[in-house]
Amino acid sequence: MLSVRDLTVSFTGEEGVVCAVDRVSFDVRAGEVLSVVGESGCGKSVTAMALTRLLPPYARVTGSAVLDGVDLAAASPRTLRHVRGKDVAYVFQEPMSSLNPVFTLGRQVTEAVLAHEQVSRSTAEQRAVELLDLVGIPGARDRLRVYPHQLSGGMRQRVMIAMAVACNPRVLVADEPTTALDVTVQAGILDVLRDLRTRLGTAVVLITHDLGVVADVADRVVVMYAGRIVERGEVRELFRRPRHPYTKGLLGAVPNAEARERSGRLLEIPGLVPVLSEQPDACTFADRCPRASARCTEHEPPLENVAGHEVACWHPHTDDENATAGRPAERSSDA
């Protein structure tokens, strides 16, 4: 339904050009949760914002993002305004500050409905109650008169989701929707997203760095590193048999009982995501990769299908390695 091809975003700043997203391609189908994961600075959010060009004017976007036959990357500002909120809706990370403090919830949700639909105010209000109900806000009708500061973060995020789905969007982009929330509240929000997906058939693009969240709700996963997709596949398959050393590293950095029994220590990936000024013909992870060879720094690995799912790596982990070790490849101690 949403088909992204070779999406590239670069920023021109005072210190030259920064390539934030490099030739990213993926598809999202109706009623599916696609998760985009990666650590901070790897281009997840920029990718999401680039879909409807919510980026500052100095950002350069190339490639295409086709939603139901319309290329959003080439659309006019006017078309994009109609797409935003109506076809592609966003939920952001900061529920505490994403609601206008001077208006009641009722007013804000009602306006979200009225923004793209020609209905009467009373119909819109009725719809607002249904929406608040849908996202699990108890006593929805009474809450219409409440101001944002009277709600907890979790409740506000529910309201944000209610506003996002007000016009039955085809795609809901949730950019770290649970990062600012307590773990217990997180579960509730994820329930809401899952529920909406099945009830409304909305495609959800879930951006997160939390692999627990991914395992919980995602159908398919895209792993990004330094602006590129390094691994892509169905969630169970990818979690069971990660091929890319970066994915392996991410999984190794998640605390769980098994890992604790094995070594008592969490694994980490040394170093930070590099900031790229061009699109090098090399693996961007090579600097931090325990398996890097000369080839990795000389040629960019293509995203290829390796037994089950796609990975961009010259030295992907094999099934044998995954089966025997059950843990990420050993890094040499001098790494």
């Binding site: 919510l54 609601l99 208006f103 979200a112 409440v146 009277q150």
Partner: protein, 294 residues
């Protein structure tokens, strides 16, 4: 939907916003004091022809310099035997008109330009230079120039004072806009398909309004003082029409002999200005949606 979330209790703010603001105002003694003084002044000014025992310019030479408290003249009379009480009523009327007119002018010009300047950076450089220009221009020169071109009158005094207050209004609105346009709810509205006009009018202006109101309440007493200054210098309301400023001018020769002729209009100016300030502060606190929780 089952969640581990503890629902915040539904705080029933069942009454509309206006009533909530009114309730908060009622709880603030200072704001109420300001409100009472203002109400008295406004009622007095509006109904001056009904309340005043004499016409504001009715001279009664036999009764000059009667001290306050004398029978028939509540606040005494001035050098021409005019009733001070009647003149203060009419003078307050002139002060309020100039105060409100000039601030309305400043709001009408300053707020739109401030919003545009804060929101669109190319406009900002032009608007900011223009406000600098107005700021650099001395108030009295402007008023003298305007009086020379258009004649000295209440309207022209209000225009001169209004022009002088535009830059402050632009700056307050602009800085609020700059602050607010980076807010997440603005980003969120844009991601929801909102256009520039919608963002400015629905998200930025309502949040900037309390700062603008505060600026306006600082501006009104300033305008009242400005009117007094202009009238005192003969650039505003022309005698014999009463104005608190012209009353002061006329009183200066007799200040030693009949101090009430100078003190009473002075006190009236001060009370008016103070009342606006107190009420304005109270209003700002009451308009803040989070104000009730402090």
């Amino acid at each position: 939907m089952t969640t581990g979330e503890v629902a915040t209790p539904v705080v029933t703010t069942a009454d509309p916003r206006q009533r909530r603001v009114a309730r908060r105002l009622l709880k603030s003694p200072l704001a109420m004091a300001g409100f009472v003084v203002l109400s008295v002044a406004i009622v007095g000014a509006v109904f001056a022809p009904l309340i005043a025992p004499y016409g504001p310019s009715d001279a009664n030479f036999g009764d000059a310099f009667i001290p306050p408290g004398a029978e028939g003249y509540l606040l005494g009379t001035d050098s021409l035997g005019r009733d001070m009480f009647s003149r203060i009523l009419y003078g307050t009327r002139a002060s309020l008109i100039v105060g409100v007119l000039s601030v309305l002018l400043a709001l009408a010009v300053g707020v739109p330009f401030g919003l545009l300047a804060g929101y669109f950076s190319p406009i900002d450089s032009v608007v900011s230079r223009l406000t600098d220009l107005v700021l650099a221009f001395p108030f009295l020169i402007l008023a003298v120039g305007l009086a020379a071109i258009r004649g000295a009158s209440l309207t022209n005094a209000a225009i001169a004072i209004g022009i002088v207050q535009v830059p402050a209004m632009v700056r307050v609105t602009r800085s609020e806009t700059l602050r607010l346009k980076g807010r997440d709810y603005v980003a969120s509205a844009i991601s929801d398909g909102a256009g520039d006009a919608w963002v400015l009018l629905r998200h930025i202006l309502p949040n900037a309004i309390s700062a603008v109101i505060v600026q306006a309440t600082i501006a009104i007493p300033g305008a009242i003082l400005g009117e007094a200054v202009l009238s005192f210098l003969g650039l505003g309301i022309q005698p014999p029409s009463p104005s608190l400023g012209t009353m002061l001018t006329e009183a200066q020769q007799y200040a030693a002999q009949a101090p009430w002729t100078a003190v009473l209009p002075g006190v009236a100016i001060m009370l008016l200005a103070l009342a606006f300030n107190l009420f304005g502060d109270g209003l700002r606190d009451a308009l803040d949606p989070k104000g009730g929780r402090r």
